[in-house]
Amino acid sequence: SAVISQKPSRDICQRGTSLTIQCQVDSQVTMMFWYRQQPGQSLTLIATANQGSEATYESGFVIDKFPISRPNLTFSTLTVSNMSPEDSSIYLCSVSRTQGSGNTIYFGEGSWLTVV
């Protein structure tokens, strides 16, 4: 498995501000992933963060709104910029680990943001 820590676990944010979420993994990983879970919804992939290169964003997500950093192989940050109430969501960091002959995705505890 994987131990993945996220900070903050929960926050209430003012409209128009930005917040940075941190994700720390217990061992080195090549790729880290950021997901969003809007209230009552399933998870949607925002972007894939590779160390040493630009993050790859999914359709509907842009770097200006969700800038990502990946300074080393155990750490990543996701910033939610210029927040609006529609950004109220749980943001989850995840990593892939080889298990047997394939890969498994593990998640952090999530960061629950409420924008007021």
Partner: protein
């Protein structure tokens, strides 16, 4: 593109009984993985069980087992001896094989275990 469908928004079961959650998926891939994740009120996504598409044998993890029907593209989760702590949202998810690690999730099934 892959799609994952969970047709049961909510289910309930009595403690100690068995319940089955349904999941179907659509893909043209031959190499892929299927997962069930549990999300309790704490909101953390917890891996329950994983199935590799090339394996015919159904995966089992303690009280949790799957019925993987590849031809029918069905991947149901059976929970035996249900416990109060099993109360959670359960998400079925698909991942292509290879180096693409993107998960595609179903909408989830809220399972309530009643005492």
């Amino acid at each position: 593109a892959q799609t994952v469908t969970q047709s049961q928004p909510e289910m309930s079961v009595q403690e100690a009984e068995t319940v089955t959650l349904s999941c179907t998926y659509d893909t043209s891939e031959s190499n892929y993985y299927l997962f069930w994740y549990k999300q309790p009120p704490s909101r953390q996504m917890i891996l329950v069980i994983r199935q590799e598409a090339y394996k015919q044998q159904n995966a089992t993890e303690n009280r949790f087992s799957v019925n993987f029907q590849k031809a029918a593209k069905s991947f149901s989760l059976k929970i035996s001896d249900s416990q109060l702590g099993d109360t959670a949202m359960y998400f079925c998810a698909f991942m292509k094989g290879g180096s693409n690690y993107k998960l595609t999730f179903g909408k989830g099934t809220l399972l309530t275990v009643n005492p």
